[in-house]
């Protein structure tokens, strides 16, 4: 935010002096975040585990946040920095909306996030990277869109599905086999939980549905009507259906061979 950088630069993430460090800094990390678009909107979901080295730091962390009425951001990387980045991002979108009397375009929001990631590059080089996934409903075009980023702030629009975080390779593989162009909203929410299950299956830093503690992935849907987070019952129900099927088929649904 320009005003903040003029008046209180120390409040902005990218402006802090970094102390010299030896070796990697130990701080809680994420994650797997996945997003899938469907006709009429987009779904963004994330698991609940934060790890610090080989220790599980937190079982019920929340990594998917609404950015404003029509967009959401899911965070992977160093939790503390990522949460701060999201807070500042939310503030900026709201501030712009109030001052200008109109919302930023989805493209504009995505670009702004890109700049914020780039300003964190110094910390990223020391191992404290933040790599979010941004999804939103483009009111002008009338469809859901997904943007993925790299540590340098490079932005690319993803068509169909995308994933970020340590388990993203496995999640992307799962989504590749399950994705279709004509998904309904409930298909899309099931698909993201399937992908998160596969990521948790093969990545130790990603948590699967925790039935005993009733901790389920956070699933959010953004459509023309705005942002909506599935409540605990809804997301528990999806997880339960998937678990039941996986008792018979542990590797999940099979794709056709040809």
């Amino acid at each position: 935010m320009d005003f903040l950088s003029d008046h209180q630069p120390e409040m902005l993430p990218g402006r802090r002096q970094l102390p010299p460090t030896h070796g990697a800094v130990e701080a809680p990390h994420g994650t797997t975040i996945v997003a899938v678009s469907f006709p009429g909107g987009v779904v963004l979901a994330g698991d609940r585990r934060a790890t610090m080295g080989n220790v599980i730091a937190q079982r019920d962390i929340e990594k998917v946040f609404p950015a404003d009425e029509y967009s959401a951001v899911g965070i992977a990387g160093t939790a503390g920095l990522a949460v701060e980045m999201v807070k500042l991002f939310q503030l900026e979108l709201e501030h712009f909306e109030k001052v200008e009397g109109a919302q930023l375009s989805l493209e504009g929001k995505a670009n702004r996030l890109s700049t914020m990631i780039r300003s964190n590059l110094g910390m990223a080089m020391q191992g404290l990277a933040v790599v979010p996934l941004f999804a939103g409903f483009d009111v002008d075009r009338g469809k859901g869109r997904i943007f993925s980023y790299d540590v340098t702030g490079g932005r690319s629009e993803e068509h169909g599905y995308a994933a970020t975080g340590s388990g993203s390779l496995f999640a992307r593989g799962a989504m590749k086999k399950l994705f279709r162009r004509d998904l309904s909203e409930s298909d899309a929410t099931t698909l993201v939980v399937q992908a998160l299950y596969d990521a948790a299956d093969d990545d130790s830093a990603t948590g699967g549905p925790d039935v005993a503690r009733r901790i389920y992935p956070i699933v959010t849907v953004i459509t023309e009507d705005g942002f909506r987070r599935l409540d605990d019952e809804e997301s528990a129900e999806i997880a339960r259906l998937i678990l039941e099927r996986r008792l018979e088929q542990p590797d999940g649904p099979r794709a056709a061979l040809l």
Binding site: F3, M11, K87, L91, H95, K98, V99, G101
Partner: protein, 245 residues
């Protein structure tokens, strides 16, 4: 070198107050009323782009009469103050009282500084509470004083006449449609006592609605919804309020 004329401080202040009051009186009046579910802002505004009312924060709204560029400046300052407070501490730590104090300081400093001309604006800062007892409305005249208001308040051109009219007729617990009707009646009375019609397109209406599920309670009422509310009489008001998101 010529010696400047001596002007007594009383005279200087009176002149500045006179100047500001005249500037404000040129603008159209607006009213802010409490109703059962919150606070409603109503004003006559031919422009769709230049708003008189605006959102400052979750529960706080802003209304201004007078010179547009001056109050727009103050509005943006207020949004910045609120957003910065909320970011540094917590969203709950942004209050209308704090904001009104900042505005009072700013207006007061400008009013009494010889280098600047006084701002020709009169502001209202309102915060909607959990119940109507928690609602706060502050009126900030051009000189930097703060007046704590209850029920109804009018600022701008013939504010005195309008507020007398409102004071006599405003009741606690009015529905939105009733409050809106009363506000429009009050605004459409001219200084010479005659009434004129204000068409819906020329009205700017916004509410701070405590029943809104979102954190941000400010909402503009435009188009069809405004038309419906203006037409609604006592019987259908219940249905109206239920219909709003």
């Amino acid at each position: 070198m010529s010696t400047p004329f001596y002007v007594s401080p009383q005279q200087a202040m009176a002149d500045r107050a006179e100047y500001a009051r005249k500037g404000i009186a040129r603008g159209r009046s607006l009213v802010v009323l409490q109703y059962a579910d919150g606070i409603v802002f109503v004003g006559e505004n031919p422009s769709r782009a230049l708003h008189k009312f605006s959102e400052i924060y979750d529960r706080i709204g802003f209304a201004a009469a007078g010179k547009y560029n001056e109050y727009e400046n103050l509005r943006i300052g207020g949004v910045r103050y609120a957003d910065m407070r909320g970011y540094t501490y917590d969203r709950a730590d942004v209050t209308a009282r704090g904001l009104a104090n900042v505005y009072a300081q700013t207006l007061g400093t400008i009013f009494s500084s010889a280098a600047e001309k006084p701002y020709e604006v009169e502001l209202v800062v309102a915060e909607v509470g959990e119940t109507s007892d928690g609602d706060q409305i502050y009126r900030l005249p051009h000189d930097g004083s703060i007046v704590d208001e209850h029920g109804s308040v009018a600022v701008g051109g013939n504010a005195e006449q309008i507020s007398t009219y409102l004071d006599q007729r405003h009741q606690d617990g009015m529905s939105l449609a009733e409050a809106l009707k009363l506000a429009v009646q009050a605004l459409s009375r001219d200084t010479n006592g005659t009434e004129r019609e204000i068409p819906a397109e020329r009205l700017e209406v916004a509410v701070l609605d405590r029943t809104r599920p979102q954190k941000r309670k400010f909402k503009r009422i435009v188009g069809r919804q405004l038309g419906r509310l203006l037409e609604a009489d006592g019987a259908s008001t219940e249905a109206e309020s239920a219909e709003e998101e």
